[in-house]
């Protein structure tokens, strides 16, 4: 962990953050207003990516404290993953064109 390497690593992470934020703005600006509610629930599901950090805690079994916190965090994220994707899909199934409804 020499400082030089740390420095370069931070810069790399900042690059990634900048690029991802730019993509986020570009892509989301183009989401049709029709789909803003599904968008909210989808990003909600995606933000449950914190599960990755939480699994690490719950599975490394380092201290009781960290295991408990990790387990709670995994549960909370899992609620969002399951709930978020399901409700988004459910909403999208509702959007039909005229012909599709006729069928």
């Amino acid at each position: 962990m020499d400082p030089a390497h740390q420095g370069s690593s931070i810069v790399l992470l900042l690059y990634i953050f900048m690029l991802a934020a730019f993509i986020g703005f570009e892509v989301i600006r183009r989401v049709s207003p029709l789909l803003h509610t599904p968008l909210m629930s989808l990003t909600n599901a995606i933000s449950a990516i914190a599960v990755v950090g939480a699994i690490g805690l719950a599975g490394k079994a380092e201290t009781t404290f960290s295991t408990i916190l990790g387990t709670v965090a995994v549960t909370a994220s899992m609620i969002n993953i399951v709930g978020g994707y399901l409700i988004t899909y459910r909403m999208l199934r509702m959007f039909k064109k005229k012909e599709q409804i006729k069928k």
């Binding site: 986020g24 989808l42 990003t43 990516i49 994707y85 509702m94 959007f95």
Partner: protein, 460 residues
């Protein structure tokens, strides 16, 4: 080897999330977007599970089961409850980020660099404040706690004080990571600030706030990524952060409120309507029978749905009205204001739930260019988004907000329960226009009366 697989999984997961959002941008590809989003999450979770540091699967499995058991019912709530559901799940997401940050701190406080510790402090502060703020928002939307804004003198100064205290403690902690007694203080201050942030905000302003909280939850996840050196977290968090920010900007624009105004807590200030002239004006009201005859005679009808339709759960009745008018050869379309209802896209999902084809839903600009040719504009539980004062009354709190120009239609009919104002608290001069008919009643029962009249009439 496991590391390589994980890295590839994470890279693919990041790409999947980006594609998910990209495909969500239009209806035909939107479902594919959700599926690839799921795939991304599966990749991310699998890549994590195979790491050799993971020695104990028991708690993970229990948490997965628990999460699924709670998550599935949360996905099957009625569409009208979507705003509070979103608030609740922001609370979960933020809690997860905050707890991971807390555990990481206690595991290896002294091993972090200054930069990592700063990111960790940001993660914890954002996480905890978003947690309580989202819970409060949930409470207000679900009407578990009073929805009206609670304000007191110097509120903004007190709030900023709490936030400043949290930041100062964080800085001290970063400078000397061994001062672990500071950590609970930071967490406590952030939790308190979350509550205080929402107290002065009225229930109706929640959607903008929820969207901002979404942004905060995303940023907390991104910060976690900086702490754990995890690019996937950074990317997913940044995507969320951007999404929340953009949606709140869109809402602010549609309400003609500046974003800084929203950011700095000026929302929640009760907007007192300028009731200078208490002139007594008359309104015309009509019965379901009369209204039905107007609809029957029309060749094109534009429905303007609003918050009232959502509250009354009237969308399925509206669909029946749509069917019966269609049978009679009357064209019925819907004009969707970007902030009608209580969250962006609220009306679209409700109407889609009731199987209204989405090509009948017009965006505001298209609706406005068609309205002068429309015979009947039928406002169902909408109010502010139709108020012509927004166009010309410089003193009105909603002045400058883009509205749906219902007053341009030949006849306007408004279904609502009373003359009470809507969210913005201002009287709607539309109701006093000569071409306007008020249809007093609950949206659901009134529309169902209309349907009865029309199908009765059709049966003659």
């Amino acid at each position: 080897m496991n590391e390589l697989i994980r890295d590839v999984c994470y890279l693919a997961a990041a790409a999947s999330f980006i594609l998910a959002l990209k495909w969500l941008s239009a209806v035909p590809t939107a479902r594919r977007g959700v599926l690839i989003g799921v795939a991304g999450m599966v990749l991310a979770v699998s890549g994590t599970l195979i790491q050799k540091e993971i020695v104990e699967y028991k708690w993970i499995v229990i948490a997965f089961v628990l999460g699924t058991v709670v998550g599935v019912p949360l996905a099957n709530i009625p569409m009208t409850a979507v705003p509070q559901r979103t608030a609740l799940s922001h609370a979960f997401g933020a809690l997860a980020a905050a707890l991971v940050g807390t555990a990481e701190y206690y595991l290896k406080a002294t091993k972090f660099t200054h930069f990592e510790l700063s990111a960790l402090a940001l993660e914890v502060v954002l996480g905890f404040l978003t947690f309580t703020a989202s819970l409060m928002a949930f409470g207000k939307l679900q009407e578990l706690i009073p929805t009206r804004p609670i304000t007191y003198k110097n509120q903004n100064i007190v709030n900023l004080g709490v936030l400043a205290a949290a930041i100062i403690c964080s800085v001290l902690l970063v400078l000397d990571p061994t001062k672990s007694y500071l950590f609970p203080i930071i967490a406590g201050l952030a939790l308190t600030f979350g509550v205080m942030l929402i107290v002065p905000i009225g229930g109706a302003d929640m959607p903008t706030v929820i969207s901002l909280l979404n942004s905060y939850a995303g940023l907390a996840a991104s910060a976690m990524g900086f702490v754990l050196d995890n690019k996937l977290l950074i990317i997913a968090g940044a995507l969320d952060g951007a999404s929340g920010l953009i949606l709140s900007i869109i809402m602010c624009k549609a309400m003609n409120r500046s974003f800084t105004n929203v950011l700095f807590g000026a929302f929640g200030q009760v907007q007192t309507a300028s009731s200078g002239e208490v002139e007594q004006r008359t309104v015309r009201s009509a019965t379901a029978e009369e209204a039905a005859s107007f609809l029957e005679a029309a060749s094109s009808v534009m429905v303007i749905p609003g918050y009232g339709m959502a509250v009354a759960q009237a969308q399925h009745k509206v669909r029946e009205l749509f069917d019966v008018l269609q049978k009679k050869g009357v064209e019925m379309r819907f004009a969707i204001h970007p902030v009608a209802g209580r969250m962006p896209g609220h009306m679209n999902v409700l109407l889609a739930e009731a199987d209204i084809p989405y090509d009948k839903l017009l965006e505001m600009e298209d609706a406005n260019s068609d309205l002068p040719q429309v015979d009947v504009a039928l406002v169902i539980g909408a109010n502010d988004v139709t108020n012509p004062a927004a166009r010309h009354d410089k003193n009105s709190p909603i002045y400058g907000m883009p509205i749906i120009d219902v007053d341009k239609a030949r006849t306007v009919m408004v279904i609502k329960r009373s003359m009470n104002p809507g969210f913005a608290g201002v009287e709607n001069e539309l109701y006093f226009e000569p071409q306007t008919l008020m249809l007093f009643g609950d949206a659901k029962s009134f529309v169902s009366d209309l349907v009865k009249e029309l199908s009765g009439g059709g049966g003659h």
